[in-house]
Symmetry: C2
Subunit: 131 residues, 2 copies
Amino acid sequence: MATEQQHPDYDVFAAFCPSRNVFAELADKWSLLLLLSLHKLGEQRFSELQRSVVGVSRKMLTQTLRGLERDGLVRRTVHPETPPRVVYDLLPLGHSLAERVVPIAHWVEENSDSVLEARTEFDAAHGAACA
Amino acid sequence: MATEQQHPDYDVFAAFCPSRNVFAELADKWSLLLLLSLHKLGEQRFSELQRSVVGVSRKMLTQTLRGLERDGLVRRTVHPETPPRVVYDLLPLGHSLAERVVPIAHWVEENSDSVLEARTEFDAAHGAACA
């Protein structure tokens, strides 16, 4: 891995390193799914994001959006209408990360069958329905 | 996103879809860091993985390795020595996923400074040290 060549001071494996902290916060299903949705569909309101990322609770969506906004990946814009219209979209930094998440989503969509088969075999060999 | 073209039946956004479940389990910091470590350093014993992925507890490492083994990404091999030597390495499916995680680790290492600056600005604007 060319990691050290690209940024000799940062290492996602080292617990004390700032990049590890950043990696740990972003390597979360809701953060990654929100990035993918905003990258794919563009600007959305809170309710649209909630429909797009099925299963996310209001609380988790609020918290995850705030984290991504704080990280400089997502922009929250309040349009002064009546009632005010609040929309979220990706900043350039967010798009650049989302572009690197898309291949993982594609991998999952292409390889879910293999993973599910492996699970069935594993569970049969270990005599359990759950890992 | 070309997702639908590649696997029309699977959609990581849909809560009821098997690929969403696979995505949710893999989009976890410990799973991704373990994949990166095994991809970068190759076959490792439990204690080597624990040193490589700093901060992971024994319990979390055991649980995450078992999940990756169940998913067909990691192979656990017991060499019949005295005492038995247990090693973990990536199966081809694991390498193919890890290759797609490497660009995210690089992105984090290259952009941590921008993220940390954004956090400082956000916290100053919102009058809080925590999000």
